[in-house]
Amino acid sequence: MIEFANVSRRYANGQFGLQDISFRLPAGRMAFLTGHSGAGKSTLLRLIPALDRPTSGKVLIGGYDLNRMGRHQYPKLRRQIGVVFQDHHLLADRLVFDNVALPLQVSGYLPGDIRRRVDAALDKVGLLGRQRARIEELSGGEQQRVNIARALVNRPRILLADEPTGNLDPDLSRDIFDRFFEFHAVGVTVLIASHDVELLKQYPVPRIALNQGRISAFEEAES
């Protein structure tokens, strides 16, 4: 469960990235975060795995107040969150397998388990059989799917995605959103930031609209 209570994030230059944000996303639910670029979507998402701290207000993840969390507790929090972020790319000099296996290695899984889970995750994103490919050999869409596989391989409770369909063509974008929707269907809490209004319309998912760091609208799912 993700809960924001009067959260503001102010930058060193005095400008607000986020201002007085409050919302609640219960466990197992899915929501879209919409708004123009610069509206504060990435800033909001970065607060959830404690990559950034709010200037004021509270962020609660699974009931835990991140303000009260010490830095040695971050790994535990972050292992429960799968992220598909723009600025956390794949390691281009490694194989697909190595990239997807990374979260498992970090969490202390053994090679046999890792192989099994990586295969399963790659299967889910339709890349089974590409384990030994180099990241550089993949297309943009395939790379994004590797990203998603990496975010899911650890079976996180929460999945965050920041513009996951950035430069992809509409068909591919739909394909990726379908997969997110599937994960939500199996109980993962999903929060996706996107400005692709047309694409979002196709899913019966509530939308949190951001404008200049504030929530401008909270739209329940249409359908």
Binding site: K76, R78, V83, V106, G108, P111, G112, D113, R116
Partner: protein, 320 residues
């Protein structure tokens, strides 16, 4: 990589994690990674190692110098296991006898020979090629007891000297051992200087290794940020760096040992000739303890450097 892949059916999240086995595995990976980086970037890595070697060899050379001084001192000491006692004027036979008895009881005294004033005068006359000394009204020379000490260690001499000061019959005694004491002090000075240099230059090593590691970290900053994001602990992120630092330090210590060995072998000739002129034979060589010290110091300093730099940078990369 040889674990069976398909017959594992463990289900839950917690059961399939093996922290200890994974930890050991990661250590192995980090060691392999550190070796691979060493081979992959030979110029940068070896330049650092060479600098470390030179820096660490300095204190080691000073210590080695102290060691050589000690050995040369030992040669002199073979000459120094002797002591002359000059008795107070007017001591009578009974006093001399009681002194000789006392000397007999001293474990530090191996032999004693009494030289009466007449014999002394004779020897003196002979040595100085002077005639007419016999014509002196009275013999100005004192009774002398020539001692051969049980060994030539400064401690032995000092202990005996202490006892001799209590003996009223002894007016003075030769302290040929002063030289030895001085040599001992010089050696101690070199030793101390070596340790100080090691500490001071150790700081330099921390900075030199730290700078190389900083570059390494900078190159891997995206990977580290990624590992932090997916829940890697600081220890996990630090581990490869600790291997890099320790390995670099260890090899630096090895290079330093090599440099000291080279210096020793270059100066071996003159030292051997010097020793030979005293009728002794020594062949200078590097002290194995010193090699061990250098490698341990190098490894420790490299590890320390990785801790300091790593914790600082990784902390910045992984926390808001």
């Amino acid at each position: 990589m040889s674990a069976p892949a398909h017959h594992e059916t463990r289900g839950t999240r917690e059961k399939s994690r093996h922290p200890l086995a994974a930890w050991r595995r990661h250590h192995r990976q980090c060691l392999r990674g550190a070796l691979a980086r060493l081979i992959r970037r030979p110029v940068g890595a070896w330049a650092t190692i060479l600098v470390l070697g030179v820096v660490l060899s300095l204190p080691a050379l000073v210590m080695t110098l102290g060691h050589q001084v000690e050995r040369l001192g030992a040669i002199w000491m073979s000459d120094a296991a002797r002591m002359d006692l000059y008795l107070a004027p007017g001591t009578d036979e009974a006093e001399r006898q009681s002194l000789r008895d006392w000397l007999d009881r001293q474990a530090t005294v191996a032999e004693q020979r009494v030289i009466p004033p007449e014999e002394g005068l004779e020897t003196l006359t002979e040595r100085l090629h002077m005639d007419g000394l016999e014509g002196l009204d009275s013999n100005p020379l004192p009774w002398v007891i020539e001692l051969t000490l049980s060994d030539a260690r400064p401690d032995t001499r000092l202990a005996l000297a202490e006892g001799l000061r209590e003996q009223s019959a002894v007016a003075e005694f030769s302290s040929g051992g002063e030289w030895i004491e001085r040599l001992e002090q010089i050696r101690a000075f070199f030793d101390e200087l070596g340790w100080w240099l090691l500490i001071l230059l150790g700081l330099t090593v921390v900075f030199v290794v730290g700078n190389t590691l900083r570059l390494e970290l900078h190159e891997r900053r995206r990977e580290i940020a990624l590992i932090a994001l997916i829940g890697g602990t600081e220890r996990y992120m630090l581990r490869p760096l600790l291997y890099d630092g320790t390995l670099t330090g260890l090899l630096g210590g090895l290079v330093a040992s090599g440099l000291v060995a080279l210096a020793v072998s270059v100066t071996a000739g003159p030292i051997e000739r010097f020793a030979a002129s005293y009728g002794a034979a020594i062949s200078p060589q590097i002290d194995p303890t010193l090699v061990l010290l250098l490698m341990t110091a190098g490894a420790l300093l490299g590890w320390l450097s990785a801790q300091v730099i790593g914790r600082f940078y990784i902390g910045r990369l992984s926390t808001p």
